[in-house]
Each structure stands twice: as C-alpha cells, then as structure tokens.
Symmetry: C4
Subunit: 203 residues, 4 copies
C-alpha cells in the first residue's frame, strides 16, 4: 500500500500537472475563428493572424518547458511540506495567467505602443513565474532541507541556482526591450524559451 508521504507527493504532482495541462490547452482559445461575413477571404484573415500562431507556439513551449523543469525538480524530492505546496501554488498562479498575456500579445503585438505594453506584461508574468521557480528551488535545496532524497547532493544542486537568477535577468531585459520594439522583445522571450529547451535536452 502506498504510504501517506507518497500519496501526498503524488497529489501535489497530479494537481500541478493538471493545472499546467489545462493552462497549455486553454491556449487554443486564443486562436480565433474569423467571423463569417468578413470582407476578406478566410485564407487572408488567417494569414493576418500570424501573431496568434506565433504566440501560441511560444507559450505552448514555455508551459511545456515549465512542466519539464517542474518534473525534473520534483523528481529530486522525496517529500513535500506546506511551505513547498504554497510556493508551488504561487508558481501556478503565474502559469495560469500565461494564456491571458498570450492573448494580449496575440491581439496587440503589431499595434505600436500597445504592443510594447502587451509584451512587457508577458515578460512580467514570465518573471514572476521564474521567481516562483527560484523560490521552490532555493527552499527545497536549502541547507538542512528534509525534502531531498538521500541520493542527491545538495551542494551540487545549489550550484545550479545561479542559472535560475540568470533567467530572472533575461525577463527584466525583455521587459525593457519591449518598449524599443514589441516584436524584438517577444522574439527575445521566444529565444530564451528555446535556449531552455535545448539546455534541457543536453543536461
């Protein structure tokens, strides 16, 4: 029979997986069906909606990679406590907001200063998501943590913390770039995502 601790870990992971799976799937609601009776052909309307597809793909990858990292992080843990559950909720709060900022970017990317504001909002939510990750990581790997399994080396893990802070800096930077060029800011966010994807594959 599964122990209580196992069941608790399992439910936190299941809840997190559920939230991330739903958030990633709700992105499809940002792909809008052009209204019947438009003056333009459907093909032309779809072609003009490229920011929707672009932001859909970027956000899908962002949430997918958040899930992969969450997955990797939790595979190091043997138990969870309430602080960790609370930090995890904080992370999910921002993951769930991502479809909203994605729709902002999809709608406003090509609309001048409004596009800059949309990409800045996207960067801000990404930043908070990274804060959530950094907090979970720092808490789980802190000296004396009882959350890690006996076969992981906390010191080796903590050496990776720097990578989390680097992520924070990139999002601040993208926030600033957004005001020079919304498209450039969003491409920087996309590139950061791609970088983390490949880092994942190498690691």
């Amino acid at each position: 029979m599964a122990t209580g601790i196992e069941r608790e870990m399992g439910r936190v992971e299941a809840f997190s997986d559920g939230v991330m799976a739903i958030a990633v799937t709700l992105l499809v609601l940002g792909l809008t069906v052009p209204a019947i009776g438009s003056e333009q052909s459907l093909a032309s309307n779809l072609a003009h909606s490229w920011p929707e597809y672009f932001s859909y793909i970027v956000s899908f990858l962002v949430i997918g990679i958040v899930w992969m990292n969450h997955h990797r992080m939790f595979s190091l843990l043997v138990q969870v406590d309430r602080t960790l559950i609370f930090l995890n909720l904080f992370l999910l709060l921002w993951v769930v907001a991502l479809p909203f900022t994605t729709s902002l970017v999809a709608t406003y990317l090509l609309h001048g200063f409004d596009g800059s504001v949309a990409v800045a909002a996207y960067s801000a939510v990404s930043f908070m998501m990274a804060v959530g990750f950094t907090a979970i990581w720092s808490y789980a790997t802190r000296p004396g943590s009882e959350l890690l399994g006996p076969d992981v080396d906390p010191i080796a893990l903590r050496s990776r913390t720097r990578g989390f802070y680097a992520g924070l800096v990139v999002y601040v930077f993208a926030f600033g770039i957004a005001f020079l060029s919304a498209v450039a800011g969003f491409i920087l966010l996309a590139a950061t995502t791609a970088y983390y994807a490949f880092d994942q594959l190498d690691g």
Copy 2:
C-alpha cells in the same frame, strides 16, 4: 497490485484534484483582453481592470487553499463510501461555481449596489463551499466512522470541527458587510483566505 479500496480512494482524489485544477485554471478566462480600437491605451485599460486581477488572485488562493485542505482531509482517510463521495460532489459543485462569482465581482466591484450584490453572491458560494467542507469533515470524523485510518484520533480531530463553524460565520458576516461596502466585503473575504493560508503553514 493496488487493492480495490486504494483504487477507489485514488479515483475520488484524482477526480477532485482534476475538478479543482480545472476550476482554478478557468479563472484565467475572467481576465479579459481589452477590445482593439478602444479610445484608451492598452496600459490605461489594463490599469482600470485591477478588480479583475485582484479577484483572480483571491479566487486562485481560495481554490488553492480548498485544495490544500481537501488534500489534508483526505490524507486522514483510508477509504471512502458513497455518502462521502456524494458530499464531495456537493463541495465541488460550489468550487466549480467560483469562477462565475469571481467574474461577477471582477465586473461589478466598482458599480455601486451591483457590486454589493456581486460580493454577496461570492460570499454565498463561499459559504456553501464551507458547508460542504464541514459536512465532509463531520461525516468522516463522526463516532464509529470507518473511514479514518487506525493511527488517527477521532476525538482530537473532532476538536477541530469548531474551526469549520468559525469559517461559516465569517462568510455570513462578509455577506452583510458587502451591502455596506462591496470593496470592504471582498477584502474581508481575501483576508479570511490569507488567514487560512497562514494557519495551514503553521499547522
């Protein structure tokens, strides 16, 4: 091989986790993208939408804490019966309605008496949610209950029942306050949520 009882517990937890994960994620649909072509800038429109963000965060925490409490409560159980499954459905009925009352508050908070009605509706649904919790708890910890594990003390558990009734009173109180000031009523609900969050962390 997992026993039937384990599988049954597992499915009730998985269904509940699923419903709560989806309800919490659907909250994002209450964050509206301002329509293109508004007279105001996107930044200004977003700033005026602060009740949406505020109610999103409050409801996210509410459902998160409901999930934490559900989680803790079910970790005391070793089996479920049909009455408990039915009470659990009753609880979920109100959890699922929360994104609706959240949108009511987000839309009407600053609209005079309509705001009071919105916060009162929110309080009413929160109250019913608390009724659901109290019913599950009372049923599971009743004298002679076969749902609890052998290593939990029903008397110690029943002493906590008072805390559940306190929650009921707060929601009735918030319902009344809403008609004096919608914002004050909603802040009271938010503060109650925060209180339960910290109680969780201490407990």
Copy 3:
C-alpha cells in the same frame, strides 16, 4: 512495479476521470455574467437567470452520478480491451456534449416551443449517454467476458442490466414530455438524476 495491465486500466480510468472532471467544470461557462449597462439591476438580472442555475445543478449532478457509476463499473473490471476502450469513448462523446445541451436548456427553457426543443435535445443526449453505459455494461458482463475479476459473479451482475434499460425508457419518455411542457420534461430529467443518486447511496 506496476504491470502493463494495471497501467492500462489506470490510464483508461485517468482519461475518463479527466474528461468527466473537465466536462463538469466547463458547466460554469454556462453561467453568464450579465452585461454592464443593462437597464435592470444585477440582482434582478441574476434572479431572472434561474434556469441557468437550475440546469447547472442538474447537469452537475448528472455528470457526478455518471462519474460515480463509471467508477463503480470499472471497479469490477480487472482489465480492459480495445472494444471496451472504444465503447468508453462513445460514452464520453455524449458526456462531453452535455455542457452544450445544458446551455441550450438554460437559454431557451422559458421560450415556448424552443424550450421544448432544448429539453428534447437534452433528453436525446442523456439517452445516448445511457446507451453508452448499457453497452459498456453488457459487453463487460457478457458470458465468457475476461474483463471481470475472479471474485465477481457475472450472473448477479447481469441481473442488474434491466436497470440500465429502465434508464433508456425514462429518457425517451422525457423526450416526449418536453413537447407538452419544457419545464415538466426537465424536472422529470432532474428527478431521474436524483433517483439514481439515492439508488447509489442505498446500493
């Protein structure tokens, strides 16, 4: 280590639980926030929306009870084959359609003949859901079935099949009643649901 058969059962249950959990939660999207700027007060608008709340509660219970029965049915099985998975998909096809027919009823219940059509559509989807259940049950308990555990008695189970056919008849009846009175037809559907809920509790 979990065997392949256990994992396969687990995934079918998890997928079904997921679909039912999402379908039940999407019902909240049928609860509409009255548009700002209406001539009526929010309280009055909400009061006039009672068919939305009524149909929400009925459909929540319907899906909840479908889930309970699914749960009970699958707890008798020790394995699944492809035919069963396919019949299960057929059942889910109609479960997922329920939020749509719920919105039809919520919108049209009080609109004369359109209300009758809406309740008839609801009955028709409920009928198909019952067909799906009957098919799964008949297939799983057929003579020579290898899906049942060694400790269940197929003859005793098959004696319950009559109850499934009774359900089918009720939905046909409700379909007809809907054209006499939409509200009466929907109340018959609600009462049938309540009956199954209590049957569950007794069984």
Copy 4:
C-alpha cells in the same frame, strides 16, 4: 515505493492524458447555442448547424484514437528520456490546436473556397500530428533504443513504421482534395479516422 523512472513515466503519461482529455472536452465549446431572438426556430437553427456536430464527432474520434495510439505506444516503453518528452510536447502542440481547426471547419465548411481553406488547415494540423507520432515512434524504436521493455521486439515494431508514413500521405491527399470539395476532403479525413479506429480494434 515507486521508483524514479516509474514516476517519470507516470507523469509524462498523466500530462499527456490530461492535455488530450482537455482538448477533447474543449471541442464542446465549438457547439454554439443559437442567439435568442433569431428569426428562425431553435429546431431550424440546430438543424442548420450540422457541420458543427459532424466536425465535433470527427474530432472527438480523432483525439480519442490519438489517445488510444499514444496509450498503446507508451505501453511498450519502460522509460522516457528528454528527447522523447520533447517529441511528445511537439505532438501535443498539434493535438491542442485541433479544437481550433474543428471550429474553422464547423464555421466555414459550406462557404465555398473558405470551406476548402478550413479543411486544408484541418488536414495540415492532422499532418503535423502524424509527424509527431511518427517521430516518437521512430525515436523509441530506433536501433539501440533503451526506451523499450526487454519483452518487445524492436524489429517487429519497426515493421509497423510504414503504417505511420501511410497516414502522412493520406493527410497530404486530403489537403489537395479539400480544394476540389471541402466536404469530400473532410469526409476523407473522417473515413481515415474510422479506418484507424477499426484497425485498432482488429490489431
């Protein structure tokens, strides 16, 4: 206690099941409730919406069969690595887009050239989904793969790879047919889906 590898497999399956369960359930949002106050009766409006129901059923079966195949494929695996997780995300990216292309078809099927574009878009997303499947399959069954269990024969598995390429060809063909007749193209896609369903049942 479950091993790390088992837990990792479990979370990938759970995430995939979650995403597919949500995508399949979101299809219901494509079934639109006719607006109150239409000149036509509800019955007439619903009858004219048959492309919505047709595309709903086709897409439900498509995602259901994708899920069955995903299920069968993963039942051959004993572990996952990061490349497989990434290929799986690629597959899910297209599965999640299916409700969007379903709505395109439901809205435009009977609208001349726009209908052709809608069915072509549906074919294109189906094609990319098939690419995702083929990639997962080819990667998992490649010579020297460590992902397969000891009791599966990689050579026998690789002989099935041809079937995956056949699927790719059908979707390219449907893309072309769509420009001759949108309805014919969509029926070809539906027939392909049905074929895979029966193939499943026989296999």
